[in-house]
């Protein structure tokens, strides 16, 4: 005869392992990363991310197919394609970065987050990391699609690889710097307010203002070339991409841009400053 027991379903203590800030960090970054793509919320939240991802991937896929069909007569214009994506990426950040950076403040969840295993600084970095990681994916994957596509359609992959193998580095560099610059600038603007709607407008505003100012500045002969080059970050990113892949535009032939190294340094600095500003604002506890 088996014995009967009534189990105690009362409150239990937890004496096991606690992961400290690493577990908290992981959870926060992962949740932020998912928010960047609208995952974990309704269908509408995924609309813009899906749209942007489709709009950056499809031209790449299309190009690969077209080039494949042309039997190697045509070359994949990396630089051009990157240039066409930049605006979409900016749009992406305007829509999604506020979701990650503003929600905690808007819904006043912040005190709950900061009374746990993360310091305000760690919190800020975790949120920013989610933004950078998502941006890196969105900026780099289409380029990798081009790269891998090119190898795949080649009649002799091995030979093709010997030809374009080293192109991987510019691809990664472009993707990384694009994500760094656009992501950080968007973060800087979005961290200004707790309201998601305003934050989106501020991000769009920044990129539009930069474009508008550059158009006007083009006519100002007195402006040093270097400044003019970098006034609009999106245009500067495109120029760098062109340089890296050996493509040019008429504008570039008229006004030769500085070497790639300058671009890299300026972008690193720009992103760093923007990120710092964003981080300082996100660290503030009193919201």
């Amino acid at each position: 005869m088996s014995s009967s027991t009534i189990h105690n379903l009362g409150y239990r203590r937890y004496d096991g392992v606690r992961e400290g800030w690493t577990g908290a960090w992981q959870a926060l970054v992962w949740q932020g990363f998912r928010s960047m793509f609208g995952l974990g919320r309704g269908l509408r939240a995924k609309a813009i991310p899906a749209f942007v991802i489709a709009m950056v991937l499809l031209p790449c896929l299309g190009t690969v197919v077209a080039v494949g069909a042309s039997n190697g007569q045509q070359v994949i214009p990396y630089g051009l394609l990157i240039g066409s994506q930049l605006l979409l990426l900016a749009l992406f950040t305007a829509a999604q970065v506020p979701e990650v950076l503003c929600r905690d403040r808007q819904h006043r969840v912040l005190p709950l987050l900061l009374t746990r295993a993360l310091s305000p600084r760690q919190y800020a970095l975790a949120r920013l990391s989610a933004v950078w990681a998502a941006m890196w994916l969105v900026a780099t994957v289409p380029l990798l699609v081009l790269y891998v596509g090119e190898l795949a359609i080649a009649t002799d992959p091995a030979a093709r690889f010997a030809e374009i193998g080293p192109r991987l580095w510019p691809v990664l560099l472009c993707g990384t710097l694009t994500a760094w610059v656009i992501g950080s600038l968007a973060a800087m603007m979005a961290s200004l307010t707790a309201r998601r709607g305003y934050a989106s407008m501020l991000v769009v505003g920044l990129f539009l203002a930069a474009a508008a100012v550059t158009t006007g500045a083009d006519d100002l002969a007195a402006m040093p070339d270097v400044v003019r080059e970098f006034l609009d970050p999106l245009r500067a990113l495109r120029t760098m991409a062109m340089l890296l892949f050996g493509e040019t535009t008429r504008a570039m032939e008229v006004n030769p841009p500085p070497p790639v190294m300058v671009f890299v340094l300026v972008f690193c600095g720009l992103g760093a400053v923007a990120s710092l500003i964003a981080a300082r604002r996100l660290e503030r506890v009193d919201a």
């Binding site: 937890y14 606690r18 908290a24 005190p111 746990r116 295993a117």
Partner: protein, 319 residues
């Protein structure tokens, strides 16, 4: 003597020209403690300092023996916080949110999930937990707030106006939950509230603050002890009853009528058991003689309400 739960010494915090806390010194024991004070008395500042959200300007405070400034991380793991304001993201489900909070406290993923499920059961959220928090009623939202405060197995709960916005039934349930948390779950609770009646019902002790300082810190028994007076309420011929009673207690007690109550004052001198019983029997017999109904007979207890009013002089427009 048991180590105090919270020990504050000359704790001060200045905001601009305002001293939110001014040499606040108190020793709070474990159990359920109520924190009362006028708006602006320094309660929120004190709580924020305990939670590590604000640095004190001077003085020190320790929680469970750990200094708040030096062991901030250790303390975070020991404290669960339920804020007064709305603090829940509307698009996450209750279960998701509680699990997320568990992870943010450093619990491994599967542990966070399990504890979240357990804790949600304890606070009484069942199928609702899978719906987005935006669809919750106030009562359900308050429960999620409590759940996220418990998920990481803290030793101390800090609750700020936990019954805010709840209707009477919801209030009852929340108070019951808090009492269970203190008594059955074995946590200590620091509960800030304006509703003295509620505090009287569940707290072991009260800490009263005013203008950044301690006014008093006493146990509930000390504060709401029985006074020497007996209050009687009868149904029927009141004057006849009073006459009969006066005749019986002459010399031992004073009989006064206040609206529909009869107060029997026995004076402050310590009473022998016999004297008290004599008075009780006098009431009983007077009731029989006057042929009235005995609706109520009890020792008048001091109420927190009285205390509060007498100790905080009108500060007028400032608060």
């Amino acid at each position: 003597m048991a180590a105090p739960l919270i020990d504050a010494r000359a704790l001060s915090r200045r905001f601009g020209t305002v001293m939110a806390l001014d040499g606040f010194t108190v020793s709070i024991a474990s159990g359920i403690t109520g924190l009362v004070g006028a708006n602006g008395a320094g309660k929120s500042t004190f709580i924020r300092i305990l939670l590590g959200l604000v640095e004190p300007s001077s003085g020190e405070v320790s929680l469970l023996g750990q200094d708040v400034r030096r062991s901030a991380d250790a303390i975070r793991a020991l404290v669960g916080y339920m804020p007064e304001h709305d603090c829940l993201p509307p698009d996450m489900s209750g279960a998701e949110f509680t699990t997320f909070m568990g992870r943010l406290s450093g619990l491994p993923a599967h542990v966070a999930r399990e504890r979240s499920a357990e804790v949600l059961r304890h606070v009484g959220l069942f199928e609702e937990r899978y719906r987005p928090i935006g669809t919750y009623s106030t009562g359900m939202a308050q429960r999620v707030k409590l759940a996220q405060a418990l998920v990481h197995d803290p030793r101390v709960l800090i609750l700020d106006e936990p019954t805010n916005g709840l209707d009477p039934a919801g209030r009852e349930e929340m108070l019951g939950l808090i009492r269970r948390t203190g008594r059955e779950f074995g946590l200590s609770v620091l509960l800030s509230s304006h509703l003295l009646g509620e505090l009287e019902r569940i707290c072991d002790g009260i800490v009263q603050m005013d203008r950044g300082r301690l006014v008093r810190a006493e146990s509930m028994d000390e504060l709401t002890g029985e006074t020497g007076d007996l209050l009687v309420e009868v149904d029927g011929d009141l004057p006849r009853f009073v006459t009969a009673l006066r005749a019986r207690v002459q010399g031992v007690a004073e009989v006064q009528v206040e609206r529909q109550w009869v107060r029997v004052q026995m004076g402050d001198a310590p009473k022998s058991v016999n004297a008290t019983e004599r008075v009780h029997d006098a009431v009983r017999d007077a009731v029989v003689e006057a042929d009235v109904g005995l609706l109520r007979m009890e020792r008048r207890r001091a109420r927190l309400d009285d205390l509060f009013r007498e100790s905080t002089p009108a500060t007028g427009a400032v608060s």
